[in-house]
């Protein structure tokens, strides 16, 4: 257990408390430039996916892996916007340089652990956003 690592009486620059306890679900959202990813060769794509599969197997063995999704390109996306009647627009939610390509749900003890897992998934390009999950339902949709 980590305690307060500071000398009392002096203003410390850092402090620590142990908040370890009930586990927390984190979403690891994978962003990358779709244009770049779509330009990958089959071999490259396979190699990246193989890497991801490896990390996933590892996590699944430890019982830490929740649902996983890889999304189709944003060219297949349809966006709904509020209007007098909901507007149905062709295209993604926002025109951005990088797009949400997929996500993992992982079960961790701390943000630290989620960051470590994110690092394992990291490829040479792209970014990952780690967000705690507020509500989770494992669902019942049949594949």
């Amino acid at each position: 257990m980590s305690g307060v690592g500071a000398q009392i009486g002096h203003t410390p620059a850092t402090f620590d408390i142990s908040l370890k306890g009930p586990r927390m679900l984190y979403a690891i959202l994978c962003y990358n430039s779709e244009a770049v990813v779509n330009a990958w060769s089959k071999e490259k794509d396979d190699a990246v996916m193989a890497h991801h599969q490896g990390v996933m197997r590892n996590l699944a063995a430890k019982g830490k892996l929740g649902p996983v999704a890889r999304l189709m390109p944003t060219t297949t996306a349809t966006t709904l916007r509020p209007g007098r009647e909901a507007l149905v627009l062709d295209g993604p939610f926002a025109e951005t340089k990088e797009q949400l390509l997929g996500f993992y749900i992982v079960d961790c003890e701390s943000l630290e652990e989620a960051i470590e897992i994110g690092k394992q998934f990291m490829n040479e390009t792209g970014a990952m956003e780690i967000r705690p999950v507020m509500f989770f339902d494992k669902g019942s949709a049949a594949q």
């Binding site: 009486g9 402090f15 408390i17 306890g21 916007r81 209007g83 507007l87 943000l111 705690p132």
Partner: protein, 423 residues
């Protein structure tokens, strides 16, 4: 979808950014507010017909700016002399497109808007009233109700505060890093005061005013969205979330205070707690401690305890010790004494607060805690004196009722053998 409730929510959400940008253009709060009001009126006319714009804030800024510029032109014709000082940035005023403000631009606009409400000459309650009026857009009537004063008195207070702010000459250029940090810290403490005003009302019948707490949380989240890397803003937001999570458990059905250890923890809002804990954890990773983060960490330890006896008082004691070194405030020492009483017993806690008697002689909680510690030590007569003193200093009926409960218990104990009183 485009119902009035949605539009109302969109206008409220866009308000800080829009009024902030309009203030930058016109350098005058009244002009900025008026322009925003007008833009809102037009939104209410047009959005239900045309659907809402993609970026409501940008739409409101553009419409508000055009309206105010027309007003200024119209007045300048009537008054012959064009009042150039009223308008700044006229060079880009003709830009036909809604401006796409980059994040840093509107970040400084919102911060400035919040900051002008925190003029150091204004007493805290006026800073809060002004922020609620200008940034949150509450009506004078709503604010008057929250502060339990008449509408006329509140109107006068806000007008006076605005005049003072107008003379303060807050610079309109983008602030430098040290200035920005200073503004941020001033605004953070105003938001904290706003929350406290709701959390533990300073007068009147209601002990807790939930809308003020919720507004403080909204402003804290707004600030954190603008400054997502600031540990202290994470700490502030976490602190407010964790405290507010207990709101439903803090008073019983009769409006009496329920102490932390007696609260029904199933009433605590687990979503707010989870968000607060996530923010505390994120802030701690930055390894730049600050008072809000430490207080949030203390609140986190309380929130994490499933039962009162699971509370990690030793860590809480250590955190208060660090907080003491930051603030040097006797109130912090008083809070620490509660933790010390759990870890080392009431005697040690009493020894800790005795030196504070002079500085905290007019503080309700000092006498309340002193009484409770003396009661635990079986020093009933002294406890009664402390409780009597506390009652005379109670801020709300709920506080007074809580102390009266202690006095009743002492009374009952004195009628029974001592061994039972300790049980």
């Amino acid at each position: 979808m485009t119902d009035l409730a949605w539009i109302d929510a969109a206008l409220t959400a866009a308000r800080p950014q829009a009024v902030g940008a309009l203030l930058r253009y016109f350098r005058d709060l009244d002009t900025a507010e008026e322009a925003f009001q007008e833009a809102c009126l037009r939104a209410l006319q047009r959005w239900p017909v045309n659907g809402p714009p993609r970026d409501p804030a940008a739409w409101l800024i553009m419409v508000g700016r055009n309206f105010a510029l027309d007003e200024v032109r119209r007045r300048s014709k009537q008054q012959e002399l064009p009042d150039e000082n009223v308008i700044s940035n006229t060079d880009d005023a003709e830009t036909p497109l809604a401006e796409r403000l980059d994040n840093s631009q509107y970040r400084d606009d919102v911060l400035r808007l919040l900051f002008v409400c925190c003029h150091p000459d204004l007493p805290a309650t006026q800073q809060i009233a002004l922020a609620l009026r200008i940034v949150s857009g509450l009506t004078v009537k709503e604010i008057a109700r929250a502060f339990l004063v008449s509408e006329a008195a509140m109107e006068q207070r806000i007008t006076r505060a605005k005049r003072q702010v107008a003379n303060a000459n807050v610079p309109f250029e983008a602030p430098g890093a040290p200035e920005r940090a200073e503004r941020l810290s001033t605004v953070a403490s105003m938001i904290y005061l706003l929350f406290n005003e709701g959390y533990s009302a300073s007068g009147g019948d209601a002990h807790v005013r939930v809308p003020l707490c919720e507004e403080a949380i909204r402003l804290a989240r707004l600030l954190l969205r603008l400054f997502p890397g600031e540990g202290e803003i994470m700490g502030l937001t976490a602190l407010l979330l964790l405290q507010h999570a207990r709101a439903r458990a803090r008073l019983d059905a009769n409006g009496n205070i329920v102490l932390l250890e007696d609260q029904d923890r199933s009433l605590w809002d687990q979503n707010l707690i989870a968000e607060g804990l996530a923010l505390v954890e994120k802030a701690l990773r930055l390894r730049r401690a600050g008072p809000y983060q430490i207080q949030a960490a203390i609140a986190a330890l309380h929130a994490r305890a499933k039962r009162p006896e699971d509370t990690d008082w030793a860590q809480i004691d250590q955190l208060y010790a660090i907080l003491e070194s930051f603030t040097g405030s006797p109130v912090v020492t008083l809070n620490r004494a509660v933790a010390v009483s759990k870890v080392k017993g009431p005697e040690a806690a009493l020894a800790m607060i005795e030196p504070l008697a002079g500085r905290l002689s007019g503080y309700f909680h000092f006498h309340g805690l002193q009484g409770a510690l003396l009661e635990q030590l079986g020093r009933a007569a002294e406890a009664r004196i402390a409780f009597d003193k506390a009652i005379s200093l109670a801020n709300t009926p709920a506080e007074a009722a809580h102390i009266r409960m202690h006095l009743d218990r002492l009374q009952q104990a004195s009628e029974k053998p001592v061994s039972q009183a300790q049980a």
